[in-house]
Symmetry: D2
Subunit: 146 residues, 4 copies
Amino acid sequence: MKNNDSAPTRDHYSYFSTISTRWTDNDVYGHVNNALYYNFFDTVIAGYLVSEGGFEFATTDVIGLAVESNCRYRRPLAFPQDIQMGLRVAHLGKSSVRYEVGVFAGDDHQAAADGYFVHVFVLRATNKPTPIPDRLRAALERLRAP
Amino acid sequence: MKNNDSAPTRDHYSYFSTISTRWTDNDVYGHVNNALYYNFFDTVIAGYLVSEGGFEFATTDVIGLAVESNCRYRRPLAFPQDIQMGLRVAHLGKSSVRYEVGVFAGDDHQAAADGYFVHVFVLRATNKPTPIPDRLRAALERLRAP
Amino acid sequence: MKNNDSAPTRDHYSYFSTISTRWTDNDVYGHVNNALYYNFFDTVIAGYLVSEGGFEFATTDVIGLAVESNCRYRRPLAFPQDIQMGLRVAHLGKSSVRYEVGVFAGDDHQAAADGYFVHVFVLRATNKPTPIPDRLRAALERLRAP
Amino acid sequence: MKNNDSAPTRDHYSYFSTISTRWTDNDVYGHVNNALYYNFFDTVIAGYLVSEGGFEFATTDVIGLAVESNCRYRRPLAFPQDIQMGLRVAHLGKSSVRYEVGVFAGDDHQAAADGYFVHVFVLRATNKPTPIPDRLRAALERLRAP
C-alpha cells in the first residue's frame, strides 16, 4: 500500500474542472463508490480534449484507448458534495499519453484520491496505434509538468 | 406516444439544480442514455430533501421508496453539456409524494425531457408506509404548484 | 399510484433473459436503485434485437430512440441475486414499437417491477423516423401478445 | 506501459464468477467503458465475501474500504458478451487484503484485462482499521496462491 506517502496538492495539477455528484454515486456505505473515480478521470480528460484539443469523439478517426489506470483512495467522498478534478500530463509519447489525476473534495488543498491513466491513440477503424494528431498534441503539451 | 403534446417550460417548476454530464453518460449513439435521466430525477429530489428538508439519508428512520417513475424524451442530450433540473410537487399525500421533473439542456426554456416520480415514505426497519415527517413535509409543501 | 393492481406474471411475456446484479447496483438503502431498472429494460431489448433481429448497433443506419419509459416498483431487489427479464411487444407501428417489460427476482412467478418502453426508429444521420427494417420487424412480430 | 508483458491466464486465479454485460456498458466507441472493469472487480470480490465468507454488508460492523486499485486493459470487451471474472488473494495482512483480478471474455484462456484491488477492513462506526474477522479471513485464505 502506497497510501502512507502524502497526497498530492492542487499545485501538482495544471487544469481543473468541477463534477457534481449524484445520488447513485453513494454505495451501501454512503460513500462514492471506488469505481466511479475512474468515471471522473474519464470525464476531466475527455472534457479537456474536447474543449481545449478540438477533439470530436463522434466523428474522429483517431481515438484514445485506455491501456492502464490506477487510483489511490485517501479520504471518502459523498453525495451531495461537489468534486474538483485536477489534471496534468506526466508523459507524452508519440502515440501515448500518461495523465496524472487528482480528486478534490470541494476546494480542499489536498487530494482525497489520486491516480493515473494511460491513453494510446489508435485509428478507430483498425485499433492500430497512430501518432497523436497535432492539435491534440499541442493541447496535451500545455498540461505537462514544468 | 404522448410526445406530440408540447414540452413543459421552466415556469412549470419551483426548484432548480445543475448536474454536470460525464463521459460515460453517452451511449454508443453519442447521446445521454435514457436510463440516466432517472439518475438525474433521483439527484435533484435527494439534493432538495437534503438541503431544504434536513433529510439525513445515512441515519434516518424514514426513507423514501420509489413506487413509480416515468420519462418522456423529447430532444437528445450529450456530454459535455450541463443539465438543469426543474422540480415541483404535483401531489402530496399522507405518506406519498408525486414529483414532476424537467430536464433542461443548459438554460433552455423548454424541457428536453420531463417525467414524474412517486415516493412512498416508509419506516426503514419494516418497509411499512409512515406519515411524512414534519420538516420534510414543510419542504415539500414549498414545491407545490401555485 | 397504480401499485394497487396486481403485478404481471411470467405468462404475460414472450421472451426472457437473465441479468446478473452488481455490487454497485445497491444504493445506500441496500436495494437495487430505481434508475437501474431502465438499464435492465435496455439490456433485454437490445439483447433481443441483436440476437434475434440481426441488429448491429455499431454500423446500422437505423437506430431506436427512446421516446417514453415507465416503471412501477413492487418489491425491492438486491445484489447478489440474479434477475430475469420478461419482454413482449404490446404495439407495433410503422416506425415505433411499445415494449412491455417485467423484472423478476430469480424464478419468481410474479414480477418485482414492470413497465413499458417506446422506441421510435430513426435514420441515424438525420434523426428522422423511418419504417422499421423488415428483419427487425419480423423479430418484433414474434414478441407480440397472442 | 506494462502491457507488453503477457496477460495472465485462468490458472492464475482460484475463484471464478460470471457477469452479464449491459447495453449501457458500451461507450461511444462500442466497447465496455474502462471504469466499469472496477465494477466487475467489486462484484466478484463482494460476491465471494457474501457467498463464501458470510459477509452481510447491510448489518456488518466491519467493512472493507478500497485503498488502491489498478487495471491493465489488453483487449476490448463489448455487450452482449458474457464476462468471466477470476479472483485470487495475493497478500493477506492483519487488516488488509490485496486481490488480483482477471477479466475474461467468455471462456477465453487469456485475460482481456487484469488488475489488483486493496481492501482495508475498518470499523464502520469509526473508519479505523481492525483485524479481519475470522470467518472472512478463513475464506480469504482459501483464495491464496499456492
